[in-house]
Every structure is written in structure tokens, then in C-alpha cells.
């Protein structure tokens, strides 16, 4: 029944895609998210740089990490939207992970779950 199940969607995307993804998500009804700048490690990693004549491997690439909590009903749409908007077909586009949330609370009002989002 409504408002019971809530999901946490974690996604790592390319920084310059942030704005586009945010707009796309807003249009499908996402009303909030948390954004963190992270260093990503993955298949894209590992090109080398030179500094003062010395080569070194760059293992981490800057990514942006999104955390979006939405009701179960919206979860798939969110995943789908991120997948399509963040996509550049180049390696390093990122990942999306979906987790269960036991419950959500809005600090200001104390509303829970769906109503908190």
C-alpha cells in the first residue's frame, strides 16, 4: 500500500552531466537529491600523466554521486531516466545502484516515507 516502500538510488555519473540529469529527474517528479563530488575508480581509470618529467598513473577520475530517495513506484522511472540522460556511450558513464530504505523522515515536519520526499 502507498508510501510503504521507499528506495535509495545511488548513481555515479560524469560531472558535466549533472545539470542535465537533475532537470530530467525533476520533470519526472523527483523533488530532491543529495549530490557529492567523488573520485571514481573503474575501467575508465588508469591513464598516465607527466609532472616535471616523471610519469604517474591517474587512478581516479572525478565523478558526481547522486543519492535520490523515492517511493518504490517512482524508482524504475528514476533509474531509467538517469540511464538515458547520463549516457554518452563512452566508457566511464557510471553506475546506478538501488537500495531499500526502511523509512524516511522530513526534519522540518516529521512527515515520514512518501510524505517526507
Amino acid at each position: 500500500m502507498k508510501g510503504k516502500d521507499v528506495k535509495l538510488i545511488i548513481a555515479a555519473i560524469k560531472p558535466f552531466k549533472l545539470e542535465e540529469v537533475r532537470e530530467a529527474l525533476t520533470t519526472i517528479g523527483v523533488r530532491g537529491m543529495m549530490v557529492t563530488e567523488i573520485k571514481g575508480f573503474g575501467s575508465q581509470s588508469g591513464h598516465t600523466e607527466i609532472y616535471r618529467g616523471a610519469e604517474y598513473a591517474v587512478n581516479f577520475v572525478p565523478k558526481v554521486r547522486l543519492e535520490i530517495v523515492v517511493s518504490d513506484s517512482l524508482a524504475d522511472a528514476v533509474v531509467e531516466t538517469i540511464r538515458t540522460t547520463a549516457k554518452t556511450d563512452k566508457i566511464g558513464d557510471g553506475k546506478i545502484f538501488v537500495l531499500d530504505v526502511q523509512h524516511a523522515v522530513r526534519v522540518r515536519t516529521g512527515e515520514i516515507n512518501d510524505d517526507a520526499l
Binding site: P15, F16, E37, E49, I50, Y51, V61, P62, K63
Partner: protein, 448 residues
């Protein structure tokens, strides 16, 4: 900055007076001369003062190169800071070399014009060694040192406008042409004793010859290069890209302000007489007044228009005030300097948004500050300087502007169609520091 001829004249006058003394006095003078040879008093102190003015002015204007570097590094986004710093130090070094190899003699041909009044000596490197030539009234080395700094300043102006979206090498090649040929040629028209000076144009320290000239080179570049990715959205919205470090930008502005005392003050070209010393003093005071007025006016206007003070506008305002007074820093009263400089502040508040409307992306505001305020400064000269006319001032500005806009436009187009000016979209998005230089300015702070 009038042509150096002036001083020579003065000195020879002196010599002739010497010669015209009654015979009996000659001996006396002879003895005197002998005594004098030993006593310091015999030294041509004016020569030393004039030379010293060039050296002090020169190192102050050198300092402006650092000011431009800091101002621009502070107004670009962090992902392009290393590139901006690289361009600024490289352009100064290139200007030094090019001005030596071709620039100086192209600008100051003396009587050896290739095309009288228009093009000076081509490909003749400047030499400064040997004994001092007293007739000129100053040391050749000090003059070269001082003039060179003006050439470099012109190039510094360009780098800011085109920041964040032009590759390193095409920019540097443009700098080679600008500092070796374009600037020296247009400057020779006035300061080299060319056709503009003949015609009665007046530009004391270079509102037109340096600042507007650099501004026009920047403008043609901006038009050909186009704006930064995402700066103007399809819906026509302007997407601001705030500077990454306003402390650096402010430092840069203070440095430029300081350097400007040398820029305008030493353009008096002489310190050897009380009148010259007094002139330099007036120029220092006026220069400071114009900058202050520009800053205050910009601050007040930005409060009135936007309901908040925009520091970057205040910084631009101070600089616009400085450029405005540069064409005639000697003749106006302090009050004159204030209102002339103040209008510089108005220009900033009007022209910065205007350029955005025209979708001309000028990252640091060099066009309002150097080109438009340079125009204003040039046109304001007749208010205080006798023997100048608005008409002639306009002609001079237009001629220089046209020449710089067209010639640099050609160079930009050639570079674009050969090696290309812009990095790939992805590189620009990633930032030139990582993409082209593989070196971030703040590797530990920024988060991509």
C-alpha cells in the same frame, strides 16, 4: 608618451647655447669644465634622472604582467587556471623576444622608415650596448626596457578575453605576430613619429595605442572564436561562469593599479627638470584619482542596478578608470581625472551586460575596460589638452582600431583554418588544464 625626439631636441638646445658664449668666457668655462670633470656637479644629472624614470617606470609596468596573470587566473574557472597562467607568462617572454628582434626598430625607425610614417624598419634587432648617447637625454637601454613593457601589456589584454576556450599554441603564435608586428606598426604611427603624430593625434600613454589596440585584437578573436561552451543557452539565457578565485582577481587589480603609476608617469619620458618632476607627480595623482573614481562609480551603480555590489564590477571599474585617464593623464585637474575616470566606471556597468546580449564572450571584461574605456579616454583628451580636437582623436582611434581589428582578424582566421583555435568540446568541458596541459592549478582542492 610623446616621441623621444623631444628630449634630444632639449639637449641639443643646451649644447648650442653653450657654443654661443662670448669668447673670453670660453676659457673660464674651460677651467670650470676641468674642475667640473672631477666634481659630480658636472655630470648630466638630467640624463640620469630620465634614465631612472624609465627604469622605475619599466619595472612597474613589468609588474602589470603579473597583475594580468593574477586577475585572469582569478576570473577563470579552476579547470583553466594553469592554462591562463601559462599563457600569461609565455606571452610576456615572447613579447620580450619579438620586440627585441623586430618590434622596437619597427616602432621607432628614426629616419629609416620602410614606408614613411606607416611602416618602420623591418627585421632589424634592437641593440643597446656601448657608451651612452647623451644627446638623446636618456640611456638607450632604459628606453628599450620601458617600451618593451608596453608591447607586452598589449598582448596581456588579449589573453583574458579569449580565456578558457583557445588552445595554447595558436594563442602564442598570435602573440608572436601581435608583439613583433601589429603593435609596433600601429604604435609607430604615433610614438614613432608616424603619420598620426604628424596629423596631431594625442595619446599620452596609450589609451588607444596600447589598450584599445589590445582590445580590438581581443574583440576580433572573440568573434572568430565564439563563446565558451554553455555560456549562452539556446533559449538565449546567459549562463554566468563565476571566477574561481576573487582574492587573486583583486590582487591582480591592485598590482595593475600600482603598475599604472609607471605606465602613465614614466610616459612623461623625462624627470630631469623641475617641470618634468612636477608633471610626473601630477600624472601619479591623476592616475590614482581616475582609478578611485572608476571603482566608486562602478560600486554605486552596481548597488543601484543589481541591489548588490559586484566585486568583479568594482575591479573592472578601477581598471576602466585607469584606462580612461591614460590618454591624457597630465593636463586634467584632479577633478578632471575624477570625472573622466568615473565615466570609465559607468562604461563597465553598461558594456559588460551589453556584450552578453551580443553573445560576445569576454571572460574578464577586457573589452569594456580596455577597448571602450580606451575610446572614451582618447575622446576626452581635448577637454583639457590644447591643440587637440575631437575629430582628430576620433580619426586616430578609428584608424588604430580598424588596423588592429582587421589585421588580427586575418591572423585569427588563418590560425583557425590551419591549426585550429579551439580544443574539442570534451576537452573544453574537462578544462584545458587537464585536457591540454595535464596539470591542474589546484589539484588538491577542486573536485572536477
Amino acid at each position: 608618451m610623446n616621441t623621444p625626439m623631444k628630449l634630444a631636441g632639449l639637449a641639443t638646445l643646451g649644447a648650442s647655447l653653450f657654443a654661443s658664449l662670448p669668447a673670453w668666457a670660453q676659457d673660464a668655462t674651460a677651467e670650470a669644465a676641468e674642475v667640473v670633470a672631477a666634481a659630480p656637479a658636472a655630470v648630466d644629472n638630467a640624463f640620469i634622472f630620465n634614465t631612472l624614470l624609465f627604469l622605475i617606470g619599466g619595472f612597474l609596468v613589468f609588474w602589470m604582467a603579473a597583475g594580468f596573470a593574477m586577475l585572469e587566473a582569478g576570473l577563470v574557472r579552476s579547470k583553466n587556471v594553469t592554462m591562463q597562467l601559462t599563457k600569461n607568462i609565455a606571452l610576456f617572454a615572447i613579447a620580450s623576444l619579438m620586440y627585441w628582434i623586430v618590434g622596437y626598430n619597427l616602432m621607432y625607425p628614426g629616419d629609416a622608415w620602410t614606408m614613411t610614417g606607416y611602416v618602420g624598419q623591418l627585421f632589424s634587432a634592437k641593440t643597446i650596448g656601448g657608451d651612452p648617447d647623451l644627446a638623446t637625454g636618456y640611456s638607450a637601454g632604459s628606453d628599450f626596457f620601458f617600451q618593451l613593457m608596453f608591447c607586452a601589456t598589449t598582448a596581456s589584454i588579449v589573453s583574458g578575453t579569449l580565456a578558457e576556450r583557445i588552445k595554447l599554441w595558436p594563442f602564442l603564435i598570435f602573440t608572436v605576430v601581435l608583439t613583433g608586428f601589429l603593435y609596433p606598426i600601429e604604435a609607430s604611427w604615433q610614438w614613432g613619429g608616424g603619420w598620426l603624430s604628424e596629423a596631431g593625434f594625442s595619446d599620452f600613454a596609450g589609451s588607444t595605442l596600447v589598450h584599445a589596440a589590445g582590445g580590438f585584437a581581443a574583440l576580433s578573436g572573440a568573434l572568430i572564436l565564439g563563446p565558451r561552451l554553455g555560456k549562452y543557452t539556446k533559449e538565449g539565457r546567459v549562463n554566468p561562469m563565476p571566477g574561481s578565485n576573487l582574492a587573486l582577481a583583486t590582487l591582480g587589480t591592485f598590482v595593475l593599479w600600482l603598475g599604472w603609476f609607471g605606465f602613465n608617469g614614466a610616459s612623461q619620458l623625462a624627470l630631469g627638470t623641475e617641470v618634468d618632476a612636477n608633471a610626473v607627480s601630477i600624472i601619479f595623482a591623476n592616475t590614482n584619482m581616475a582609478a578611485s573614481a572608476g571603482a566608486v562609480v562602478a560600486m554605486i551603480l552596481s548597488q543601484l542596478i543589481y541591489k548588490k555590489v559586484d566585486l568583479t564590477m568594482v575591479l573592472n571599474g578601477a581598471l576602466a578608470g585607469l584606462v580612461s585617464i591614460t590618454a591624457g593623464p597630465l593636463d586634467p585637474s584632479l577633478f578632471g581625472a575624477v570625472w573622466i575616470g568615473g565615466i570609465g566606471g559607468v562604461i563597465v556597468l553598461v558594456v559588460v551586460p551589453l556584450l552578453d546580449k551580443l553573445k560576445i564572450d569576454d571572460v574578464v571584461g577586457a573589452i569594456p575596460v580596455h577597448l571602450v574605456a580606451g575610446f572614451w579616454g582618447t575622446m576626452a583628451v581635448p577637454f583639457y589638452t590644447d591643440g587637440t580636437s575631437f575629430g582628430m582623436q576620433f580619426v586616430g582611434f578609428a584608424a588604430i582600431g580598424l588596423f588592429m581589428f582587421v589585421t588580427s582578424g586575418i591572423v585569427w582566421v588563418v590560425l583557425k583554418s590551419t591549426m585550429g583555435l579551439r580544443p574539442t568540446q570534451e576537452d573544453e568541458m574537462m578544462g584545458l588544464d587537464k585536457a591540454e596541459l595535464g596539470l591542474e592549478a589546484y589539484p588538491e582542492f577542486t573536485k572536477g
